[in-house]
Assembly symmetry: C2
Homo-oligomer: 454 residues x 2
């Protein structure tokens, strides 16, 4: 169609997989061998020299193709739309995607289809921030409270958060905003690190990395637990010895337990003063988390990286089931739903410490936490973003960690863009890495594995 | 590999779509134009003349290809396995599928990936029942309590149901079993019908179909509500006038409302004595359902067709959030998870009235309810299976409804097999129907639409 208005010309998808399982990076009690992957998309416009929008879902290997297929199924909602209209109101697209009744049947608002919606919505916010020439955290923090409040879908959460309440929280967030922004730009946002604590690492490697984390300025580390109690006691003792009494050690069971097991196991680790127990049981079990929390205090209960949507977060807050809310930038329906979750957390006065790591999750979620600090929670108290030092080199605007803090990104957008050479090399199954890996396997050499380790 | 043991030789998938939206069959407040579809699979073995296993996920159109991709992603777990071992312990496969850590990331245990697991697991049960030359309801009812109890995954539900409790319920179910089987074979299992109540039907059609339902022996009908309150009052008045005071009328909002809206709307319909309000809000909102139930009594609260897994059903029961539990044969992880759900319902003494309709859901779920009657609940009291009179002709063993009851199927298996000609005709996008539809659209005629109505 002839038009003078720039429109979305294409939504291109890519199945990108990194062979992380070969070093046991990312190994935990439920996920022994993840190949960190991304179902990645690019929104291209017909504007010459105009920016693109980038977004993705993080997966851990098999099934990344299913996630790509789900993003492909959303293409017809996006291609042909006016770039200006999309960027002026990403919530309108979000509502269209969630409201596609045929696709909604595949959730609703959960799992593969909902994560696909999140990837597309996040790509639109990336494009919108680039159009405004602002990093996303700044675009969000500069927005009018009423406009931001209208970006939220209150269906199924109105019993806990109304639009009026959202506007009131956001208006309150304007007080002292300038001072906070100067503080954020000077110090960055506090981080904790999970890099020492993967279950597949030796005690020696764990202790060494824990000491390095403290030397690097981190005040909290996290250890994976839940496979074997004796091992966990030994590993936690080693970690506590390495970091001393003043560094917080969080532990993470990755959904391994029933309610009673969670209580027994956490109690057995209490002598090492764990700060929180993360994902003690199924992310779907609101009442289970509430029961565990009542029985393991003063150890805090944290969850959220697998919580499917705002409706389950609402109930975790209503039931008093969590001390720490761990939203994820790419699990729910994108920025719009995470705005709802941040405001719900503020209403219930529960700190948000986002999940990150994976592929690009640090890059994305820092924007949400920085917005939270500037415009919603207005404090760093008991708030930190997870940091894992993997795969950042594949992004064109990788996170910058300085003295245990995320430095505020200055480039326009959502920091979601992958490097062209990484896409070419790690596209599955035909990118250069995977082709060489297959060839190596076929002729009996280990060239593929060697290249992976390089 | 050379072998004398029959093995699974192939898992073949099919994207099958019926153009039901053209008659507004199946229309409700959230789903105005469903094209009832199935992501269908066939397990073929290398045994000459041996039976096949059939299974499927029901969807409503767009995204059926995503669901097929998810089933394809499970193929490597099934192909090559011994038929005898699979059929002797479907729970082992179920655990392998749910435990695939990379695929689990896409849920866990919810949405597209979990429904795919359900389709494969159900196909194995179909094959197992054919090997035993029994309809599935009979295979389940004949099984040893201990073996059946071992088919259940107690992870995340052990705080509400232990294996010992499951065995005790199933042992109790043996008392009076013979008399109940004779009763079932003579009378069938009670049904109610939703055929009159689709939102897209005129008042005249609604009233006519409601009267026909009563004449056909049904004692309960169901109406869709939730789009417009004045319309709902008018339609419910017409339905009540058509069927008189003694026929139960359930109403179904298909997740349309927030908590307060659900209460207000249900209260406004109370003068017409609705039996239950179904899906008043999000299936994820356990606490919301509990709040609604407390405020709309004596109208009962029902939900379940979109409840993602046993963990959410557990909480609905723990929270006292439902009067009626509506499991679905193809939403959760297959027969094994539905065994858990039936036993949870028995433990909490909540009647199960399954969701059905769609494509083949009546065919599947009758087996679960008949097993429930014979071996778990031991009663028909306040228990009915939904019936919708659509698309049964596409199955080789369609349900038989007689005097408002499902007749117990006698053919071996899970009644899941689609007719070869239906598969050929409605495979999307290249089956005969869809090809003709495209050709009709291309040359401006309505041949496709005419063929659809035929």
């Amino acid at each position: 169609m002839p038009t003078s208005v720039p429109r979305i010309a294409a939504l291109d998808t890519y199945d990108i997989r990194f062979p992380t399982s070969r070093e046991r990076d990312g190994s935990d009690a439920m996920n022994p061998d993840p190949d960190y992957s991304a179902a990645y998309l690019v929104l291209r416009t017909d504007a010459p020299d105009g920016p693109e929008g980038h977004g993705f879902t993080f997966t851990i290997g098999r099934g990344n193709d299913v996630q790509v297929a789900a993003i492909d199924a959303l293409r017809h909602h996006v291609v042909g739309r006016s770039v200006a209209e999309l960027c002026a109101d990403p919530g309108a697209l979000s509502r269209d995607l969630i409201g596609d009744s045929q696709l909604r049947w595949l959730g609703p608002e959960k799992g593969v289809m909902h994560m696909a919606i999140g990837a597309v919505v996040n790509a639109v916010w990336d494009l919108a921030a680039k159009q405004e020439r602002k990093p996303l955290w700044q675009l969000l923090a500069d927005a009018e409270p009423e406009w931001l409040a209208d970006q939220i879908d209150y269906r199924y959460i109105a019993d806990a958060l109304t639009r009026d309440e959202a506007v009131a929280i956001l208006r309150r967030g304007r007080n002292g905003r300038t001072a906070r922004e100067l503080d954020l730009l000077a110090r960055g946002y506090p981080a904790y690190t999970t890099s020492p604590g993967w279950l597949g690492y030796s005690d020696e490697k764990l202790s060494r990395l824990a000491r390095e984390a403290v030397a690097d300025g981190f005040t909290q580390i996290k250890l994976k637990v839940g496979a074997d109690l004796d091992d966990d006691i030994r590993r936690l003792r080693a970690a506590r010895a390495a970091v001393g009494p003043d560094i917080r050690i969080a532990v993470d069971a990755n959904q391994r337990w029933n309610v009673d097991e969670a209580v027994t196991w956490t109690t057995a680790l209490a002598e090492f003063d764990p700060y929180w127990i993360e994902e003690p049981t199924s992310p779907d079990d609101v009442l289970g988390h509430a029961a565990i929390r009542a029985r393991v205090a003063p150890v805090k209960v944290a969850t959220g990286e697998h919580v499917q949507n705002r409706i389950v977060f609402k109930q975790l807050l209503q039931a008093g089931a969590v001390d720490v809310l761990q939203l994820d930038a790419a699990r729910v329906g994108g920025v719009n739903e995470n705005l709802a979750i941040l405001l719900l957390a503020a209403k219930f006065e529960v700190p948000v410490c986002p999940h990150a790591g994976g592929v690009g999750l640090c890059e994305l979620v820092q924007h949400l936490s920085m917005f939270d600090y500037l415009a919603v929670s207005r404090t760093f108290e008991n708030r930190m973003i997870e940091f894992v030092d993997h795969l950042h080199q594949h992004f064109t605007d990788p996170v910058v960690i300085r003295d245990g803090h995320y430095t505020a990104p200055r480039s326009p957008g959502f920091s979601a863009r992958m490097a062209a050479e990484s896409i070419a090399r790690f596209t599955y199954p035909d990118g250069a890495f995977w082709a060489a890996d297959r060839a190596g396997a076929a002729d009996g050499t280990v060239s593929g594995a060697r290249e992976a380790a390089a």
